[in-house]
Structure formats: C-alpha cells, structure tokens
Symmetry: C2
Subunit: 208 residues, 2 copies
DNA sequence: ACGACCTGTATTGTCGACAATATTGTCGGC
DNA sequence: GCCGACAATATTGTCGACAATACAGGTCGT
C-alpha cells in the first residue's frame, strides 16, 4: 500500500459512502479518470482494498465490489460480539474518572435522542459510544480487527438503522454497558456488550 | 494479490519457517533471484504480506520483516482467547458423533505423548486439535481471523513450546475443552477454551 | 433454428526502463 | 579528530508500452 495513499483512501471512502453497488465492476481505466491517477496507483489501491475485504478480484477478470450477504454479516457480527466484549472488559478495567463522566454523558444524550425520536442523532451517539470504548480499552489488535469488520458492514448497518423500534430496545443495552464500565466491573461489561451485539445479530437474521 | 500466487505463498512460507529474522530488510532484487521471479511479482507479494501483517514497508525505504514484540503477542493472544472461545462454543453446538470420536482420540494421543515426553508429537497434536475444532465450527470469519493472527505468532509459538512443563498443564485444559465439546455444552466449551488460552497468555508474559 | 467455432474488442497482466529518493562514503574546513 | 556538505551508490517508485486473456457478437455448417 505504499503507492499513493491518496487513491486508496479516496476509493475506500467512496465505497464506504456507498457510491458503488455490490458486484459492480471496477474498471481500472474508469477509476483512473475518476480519481485522476495512473493505472499503477489504481491497481495498488485495488490490491489494498482486496486485502481489506471490500473488493474481490479474479485473474484477468478484474475487480468488483464484494457482496456481503446476510449470512456473512451475521458471522461478522458474531465475531464482533466477542471482540467488542473483550474491549468492553478492558475499558471497564482501565477507565478513568474523566472517561467515566464522558460515557455517562453519552448515555444521557442517548436517552434524550430516543425520547425526541431523533434517529440520526442516536445513530451518531451509538458510533461515538463504541468508538470511545475502543479508545479507553487501548487494545490495538482488537481495535484494528473491529475496524476491519466494520468496513464490511456499512451496507447492513444502514439497513439495521431503519428497523423500527430498535433504538428503544438498544438504549437500555447501551446503558447497561455504560453502567458496568463506569463501575469498573469487567465481567458485567463484557456480558452487557455481548447481550447488546447478540440482539444486533438477531435483528440482522430478521432482515434476511 | 493477483500476480503470481506462487511467489506470495513461497515467500510467506519462508517467513513462517523462520528463514528471515525480525527487522531484516527484504531487498526486492534479492528476492527476485531467490524465488526466480520478476520484480513485479515480488512487489505484489510484499504488498500482500504487508496486509497480512508479516512485513512492514516504508516509502522509499523498502520492506522488512515486521518485529512482533511480547506486548503485541500478548494482545494477539487476548484476541485469540475470545475468538477461539467462539469457535469452541460453535463446535460444541455442531459436533457430529464421528467428529466427537476423532476429538476423543486426539485427547488420548495427547495423554500418551505427554507420558512419553514426546514434545514434538504433543505440539503437533495441539495444532491438530485446534484445527479440528475450527473445521467443526465452520465459522469462516472466525477461522480466517485466527489464521491471520496465527501467522504473526509463529516465532513466539516456538518459544512457548520450549517452556518446560507447559504440556503437563495444558493437557488437562485440552481435555476439558474436548469433554465439553463432545458433550455439546457450548458454555463450558467456551469457558474451557478461554481458560486454556489465558494460560498461554500468562506463559507469554512470563517470557517477556 | 441452433450450436460450435472463430474473430474483434475490451480489459487486465507483465515487463523493462527511467525517475525519485534514501543511504553510504568521502572530502574539506575548523 | 570531528562535523557538515556533497558526491556516489543502492534501492525503491512510477510509468508507458506490449502481451495475454476473457467476453461478445457474428459466421458457418448442419
């Protein structure tokens, strides 16, 4: 991934923004024009994104956006369940008083967002909470694996956020995680996180 | 990773066999001679192995074998702890009678190997057991993550196998995993696996 | 009308040459 | 003798051109 980091980042961002549909072909020359780069840089970017699991390539057939079905999304969520469980446990063991207060503030904001029916705001807070837990846990390997898995889930994440009534359920699960972490109870934090993501997995299976 | 899969595999195998030392520079032209390949293929291989976490590259400075310190090895083991826990749970839920018998056979062979003091044989059985559990669990995402993490651990794995008395301890942990999986008890299987890998993590910390 | 084959086109794979950059070695000044 | 600047070398980065391959559409024979 040495060659021109710019192209890699822009292409990845474009995919994550959903500018390409699953199984859509990615023709190298078209990408060259779109990102104003050489074929060399585009090829390197495609190779990097293949390793990221965002695109798939077949010899002499080129690259296409990898399609991630419900079954694979469920598997990803199952792995996330245990790895984020580890993160929650570590966060509970290492949380500082300042961080604890910040977590509690997110919890309060979540309740307000749900009460006001602001789904976009709630979705944003959700991302902030998980991200903050990763920062607190300071577990590089776990964090990088979660980032890797998250990149493959964007499309389904979007579908999930549209399932009606999910925020009402998940706000209590989030609160349970926050409480356990703030109290420094690693066991409870891991358990709460696993319960939470298990319900995400169930919701995913419900879509399929 | 389209280009010449042969070079990627051979280079990866060579690294895993320990033919290069950590932080050793990998000069492209030397690799070209060693594997009788073009620089193009070698570059592609290096890029692929960078994504694999085996090699690190800096712009205009080339590639070198990535050094994985004890602290990182511990983090890897902590992630393995929860992901292999998931695998053990799934294996317990899906095991067939034939598979159960095969697991039990490995358990008996392990006891014999320990009694006879055959450490190489025991190490081999250990790999076979974990591999068989992955086959039984049939969880692609979990399996691929474990494979990915395992590749970065080879050096430390070797160091671990030389810690005296480890096999005497771990044989009982392995038996506990086998028993739980054979009985189809997912909770117990996950717990046993986590206990087992926790002791691996402790041994690693002891080395450092 | 249908299928096998063949040809043209679009696209990707590979290479060799050159440019850009880092690293090493050398020299002169102090 | 030591330090900085500069030159020489080693190594990687980038590109354009060509080869190899797959795919689509048409042609021929039956």
């Amino acid at each position: 991934m040495v060659a021109d980091t710019r192209v890699v980042e822009e292409l990845k961002a474009a995919i994550l923004r959903g500018e390409f549909s699953p199984r859509q072909r990615l023709v190298e020359i078209e990408l060259c024009e779109q990102f104003d780069a050489s074929r060399f840089a585009v090829r390197a970017a495609l190779q990097a994104l293949e390793a990221d699991g965002l695109v798939e390539r077949q010899r002499n057939r080129g690259a296409r956006i990898r399609e991630i079905g419900i079954d694979e999304a469920v598997e990803i969520t199952e792995v996330r369940q245990v790895v984020e469980g580890l993160i929650a446990r570590r966060a509970a063991e290492r949380v500082s008083v300042d961080e604890a207060e910040a977590l509690a503030a997110i919890g309060r904001a979540m309740h307000e967002a749900v009460a006001a029916g602001e789904v976009a705001e709630y979705s944003d807070l959700n991302a902030r909470l998980h991200s903050m837990l990763r920062d607190i846990a300071r577990h590089e390997k776990a964090n990088s694996i979660i980032a890797h898995l998250h990149g493959q889930m964007v499309r389904h994440q979007f579908a999930l956020s549209r399932v009606p009534g999910r925020s009402k359920v998940s706000v209590h699960q989030h609160q349970a995680i926050i409480d356990a972490v703030v109290e420094g109870d690693g066991d409870a934090a891991e358990q709460a996180m696993r319960t939470h993501i298990a319900s995400v997995a169930d919701a995913l299976r419900g879509i399929g």
